[in-house]
Amino acid sequence: MTWVVCSDRFDWGAIDTAVETHTEWCRNPVLPDDCSDLEGLAGCAEDLDLDLVAHRHRIAGIDPFGTPIVALDRVDRQSPRRVRTRLKAASSRAVHYRGVAAGNVKTILPRVRSRRSFLTIGGPAYRVVPDADPARCRATDGCTICVDACPHGALEWTSGVIRKDRLACEACGRCVAACPADAMVHPTFTPDQLHAEMLALARCCTEPFGVALNCSRGEPTAQAEGWFTLQVPCVGMVPPHWMIALLLYGAAAVVVPGCSCGVEADAEERIEATVDLARRWLASAGVDRGRERLARRTAPFPPGPLPPVEPPRPLFGACGAADVATMLGGIGVDDGAAPLGLVTISERCTGCGTCATACPTGALVSHTVDGGLSLMFDPARCPGCGRCVARCPEDGSISVRRTVQPVELGAGTRAVATHRLALCVGCGNAIATQTALDRIAVPLAGDVSVLKRVTSLCIECRRTTMVF
């Protein structure tokens, strides 16, 4: 596999990677006749026109989003080792690219700038936007978490399906971070891709290294020696556990700069709150110098990085928050923006199971065992979305606290409510939980025959059996 590279500003002889060098390639990004051997493209950040590169890909019949493209800046070009690391990271990330569907492509036509440009239409450009994977999406159960998270009104819940307006979507990625089922997929920022890139960085860097987050919609920022950029849809979408995950992968420090794209007005506020939560989370786990480990601008690395781990699964997916909390340990932290939740059920619960039906992740499940009904809760799967609270017909019987509690996660799945099932005197099948029957006995107390009928017979037997 060969990289096609621009040789204007860098001597590729020092790199032990197969490259096909071209002079002035960035200004005229030609692709090889046979692209089956093409591993990726690398050019100079100053000259590379990514839209033109994508256009050339389409003309050649190649998916432009599937080829890794590395724009090398001044700092990169000073160190062959750094260039090699960047190529390796981009290549590892590209391995996990699974293609872009039509629903993930937003068409952009150039703006009308003159009378002439009104009458003509420039070549279209395309941007990748997230879209719901119907196989994973829980919209059929009424889940609208992504719709609520979208700041642009691009998502709409209609009859159990999430409809997307691609033109309204700005690809901020907030729906991706919010979805507790990993159903909202951004094809060029999947958890697997970010995982592979971070693993490659950690393996290639023999010296301590830092990671700087960068908005993919903004201008790329040059990094100091020892720092690498991790492109995310927008820094404002990054949840706290992603920031900590980067430290767990082996980064000595993470820079969370301000949002460089500036598309969403509340991005800065979100970043501030998320960094604050992530630092408190680190402090609760006994990690010192959290302010330097999660810095707002590039600074010298703090000593003693966290022991790096090689997580078996991506820490950027739906289970990432629980995995990060378990790996980090500590006493935990409460916060309204915490990525996990803890459900508490009070005495008022009647065991109707509505909360389990509403739960978009299966964190709450109702089980019938040995004549009883148990509500099982898995804290690792609870995103703290509060759907269960909103749907519960008994006010105040269920509550959710947004929190990260490693001890609770360690305890695993457990029963949060158990109810005895009342059995039908006719057929022996379950009627309902005894608590529910006790509850309806109060309003029906004046009508003994109805009460007896309802509390002693199941629905089927009520049609055929009389009770006196």
């Binding site: 033109l52 389409r58 998916d63 009308v112 279209p124």
Partner: protein, 221 residues
């Protein structure tokens, strides 16, 4: 072949879109001798018109390539099985009211009335009444005809927005049901040509829906 990122005139773009709709419509016609060759020639013409710059080009190329490589007899048989009518009806007919409608709620009539209204407004009439009005072939041909009128409007400095509005109405509905048809066909197709055809149709219709909206936005800005 157009390789640079040079601009297209509004009329050129409308002609290209017209040709794409016609090419796709040809895929839904009953199998005939020379039909596949016509599609291959049509694709070559589209490439000359600058198809390669658009994101949906890859899907169209996949379909035409699958059609050119396929065993004609097997592909024709599969088309009749999936799209044609048999003893129990077609497996997945490319008809809007059968894909998204409810017969008891009177959806076929509603779909037909909507399309008839659209056709009358544009001054078109169906020449082959054997096709249901909401058959994808008819809808694609109608979209193609609307694009032709739009191209003529661009060329004569008339108001192209009128035609774009009608295209939006038609293509908006197609964008709502054709992707679902593609998924259904993908699950049932044994040969692969119709999977590629419906996927290309879905990709193109979604793309064109966005392009029409963008063109209308440009006009109103």
């Amino acid at each position: 072949m157009i390789e640079s990122r040079s601009t297209l005139s509004g009329a050129d773009l409308a002609r290209l879109r017209q040709a794409c709709y016609r090419l796709l419509a040809a895929g839904y016609r009953p199998p005939s001798a020379g039909g596949a060759e016509e599609v291959v020639f049509g694709m070559e013409a589209l490439e000359d018109m600058g198809l390669g710059r658009f994101a949906f080009a890859a899907a169209l190329r996949r379909w035409v390539s699958a059609l050119a490589d396929a065993d004609r007899a097997a592909a024709g048989e599969e088309q009749v099985r999936l799209f044609g009518s048999g003893m129990d009806g077609a497996v997945c007919p490319p008809i809007e009211s059968q894909c998204v409608g409810n017969n008891r709620a009177g959806d076929p009539a509603r779909h037909a009335a909507r399309l008839q209204r659209l056709m009358r407004r544009a001054g078109f009439a169906v020449r082959h009444p054997e096709w249901p009005l909401d058959h994808l072939l008819v809808e694609l041909e109608l979209a193609s005809a609307l694009c032709r009128r739009e191209a003529e409007a661009w060329e004569s400095d008339a108001d192209a927005a009128t035609w774009l509005e009608q295209e939006r109405e038609l293509v908006g509905v197609m964008a709502a049901w054709v992707p679902g048809l593609a998924t259904t066909v993908e699950a049932r197709d044994r040969v692969g040509v119709l999977t590629a055809l419906t996927r290309a149709s879905a990709d193109y219709v979604l793309h064109d829906h966005d392009v029409i909206r963008l063109l209308l936005e440009r006009g109103s800005s």
